[in-house]
């Protein structure tokens, strides 16, 4: 089981959280100018890397804040968690 350090509440067990996808993921716009290809990229296409990845998590059963986790998809090691508004040090991205 993962223990994830919510930037707001501190370390909590995995079942309190929900995974929310890779970041950065920027919604294209304005909508009427976005091609089908760009929408599909945004909605469905992912890096899905084997190794460290930056992702968004929600502390669903806690403060209900979204935040950023730097996690390895191979070892599940968590290197850092930060608020969405914080900029990650280059070495952690």
């Amino acid at each position: 089981m993962l223990q994830i350090t919510c930037p707001c509440c501190g370390p909590r067990d995995e079942p309190e959280f929900r995974w929310g996808g890779e970041v950065p993921l920027v919604r294209p716009g304005p909508p009427e100018q976005v091609s089908d290809e760009a929408w599909a990229e945004y909605l469905f296409t992912r890096d899905n890397p084997k190794g460290f990845v930056r992702e968004r998590w929600l502390h669903a059963l806690g403060c209900r804040q979204w935040f950023v986790v730097v996690r390895s998809t191979v070892t599940h090691e968590i290197r850092a968690t930060t608020r969405l508004t914080d900029t990650l040090p280059e070495a952690l991205t």
């Binding site: 929408w39 890096d47 899905n48 998809t73």
Partner: protein
């Protein structure tokens, strides 16, 4: 030709203490040039190679596997086979697969232990019952067998099911597909490997593809841990590692890799004659020939390439199972494991050309591609050999995500595996 397996060969080899069985397939030195290189020695890769040789006469084929045959999801799955899908596209593909399974032991001369014991999908409330009825209508329109069972009939099929009036998940009805069931996963991999080898296919294990060879904008071969191998067509069938290899070829896929777990209990006398799937708890279970209960549940909660599962999902799956079968609570779990599955947004596969010339894709089977091995391999071989989609696999293209032409089985039928 490999040795024909028969009662006679069994007896003869028993007399020599089973020490004289020949290898099921050769382990040749890779040739430098092939007509087709298949990456991934799981069921889909091996079936593709077999049908390339058998149906299209293309035997100059290599299957490149980084580990051992079937060591990916093919050897890790819970072996449920069925074709009770919702959309016509899926029904065509998965029923082709089931029909091929029905003749496979004979076709490849290897017993895959197909047991069509029935797959029973349970509804636990009136809404699910309506969904099941709608789903069954779709199946009938698609020409797939299936029948709706009343609770009293369900009790005849599964007497141990919790039918107490206070059950958290009372059983309101079920859809039964009698042609569904289970097959032996290792035998599917080994049988296809043996049959493909006999038709000249080179099966190269312990050989990892680490990159692609290019000429201009085409892929013309692979770089492996055992050197460079060339072929005008390279076929990708690596399930959970599809994104990793796509990245090496310079493109991205609508695929996310997750761990999916399975569990096996200690063996007991026969207690369960069919496969049971529950719409509410997500749990499903069957009993193996050894007597073990084989069970599983939902995906793990976050993407992963670690072939091991996490505890919360295990707890959820076991809790779901015990809601259905309280009497299983005394059984001990013997083994737990996970495979890395290639999940796409609409829970349907991709069998298509890749965005890079010379490369072809067979992926996106996610939690349910064991049942699809014969059909997926058949259709993929057709695409590789003829350059056209097999009629039973139309619609499973990569650009369906751009066109919005999803085949959303996850939403329509809601049941994986």
């Amino acid at each position: 030709m490999p040795v024909r397996l028969s009662a006679f060969s069994l007896v003869r080899n028993a007399l020599s203490s089973h020490e004289r069985w020949p290898q099921l397939w050769r382990s040749p030195e890779p040739r430098r040039r092939y007509d087709v290189i298949v990456i991934g020695g799981g069921g889909h890769g091996l079936a593709t190679a077999y049908y390339l040789a058998k149906e299209h006469g293309i035997g100059n084929v290599a299957v490149i596997e980084k580990g051992w045959l079937g060591g990916g999801n093919t050897g890790r799955n819970t072996t449920v086979v069925r074709s009770n899908y919702f959309y016509p596209e899926s029904a065509r593909l998965y029923d082709l697969s089931l029909r091929l399974y029905e003749g496979l032991s004979r076709d490849i001369g290897f017993n895959i232990m197909l047991s069509q014991r029935g797959v029973l999908t349970l509804a636990h409330n009136s809404h699910q019952l309506e969904m099941l009825a709608r789903w069954l209508n779709a199946m009938h329109l698609n020409g797939i067998d299936g029948e709706l069972l009343e609770p009293s009939r369900i009790r005849e099929w599964v007497p141990l099911l919790n039918d107490s009036p206070t059950a958290r998940y009372p059983v309101k009805g079920a859809v039964l597909q009698r042609r569904g069931g289970v097959a032996r996963h290792d035998a599917v991999a080994w049988g296809y490997a043996r049959a493909a080898d006999a038709l000249g296919v080179d099966i190269i294990q312990n050989c990892e593809v680490v990159g692609f060879l290019r000429e201009g904008d085409r892929i013309v071969g692979v770089e492996t841990s055992r050197g460079e191998l060339r072929a005008p067509k390279v076929a990708l069938a690596v399930a959970g590692h599809s994104s990793v290899l796509a990245a090496k070829a310079g493109f991205r896929l609508p695929v996310t890799s997750y761990a999916l777990q399975a569990f096996v209990t200690e063996p007991v006398k026969p207690v369960l004659s069919c496969v049971v799937v529950s719409m509410s708890t997500g749990a499903y279970v069957s009993q193996s020939d050894k007597g073990e209960l084989v069970t599983g549940g939902a995906l793990d909660l976050y993407p992963s390439y670690a072939q091991r599962g996490n505890l919360p999902t295990l707890q959820g799956a076991v809790a779901g199972l015990l809601e259905l079968f309280p009497c299983f609570s005394r059984l001990r779990m013997l083994r737990q494991w996970a495979g890395i599955v290639d999940v796409v947004h609409d829970s349907s596969p991709i069998i298509d050309e890749a965005p890079v010339k010379g490369l072809y894709l067979n992926c996106g089977w996610g939690t349910g591609g064991f049942k699809a091995i014969p059909g997926g391999g058949f259709a993929f071989a057709h695409l590789l050999a003829t350059g056209r989609h097999h009629p039973a696999a139309e619609g499973f293209t990569l650009n369906r995500f751009t066109r919005g032409a999803m085949i959303d089985e996850g939403a329509a039928a809601g049941i994986s595996h």
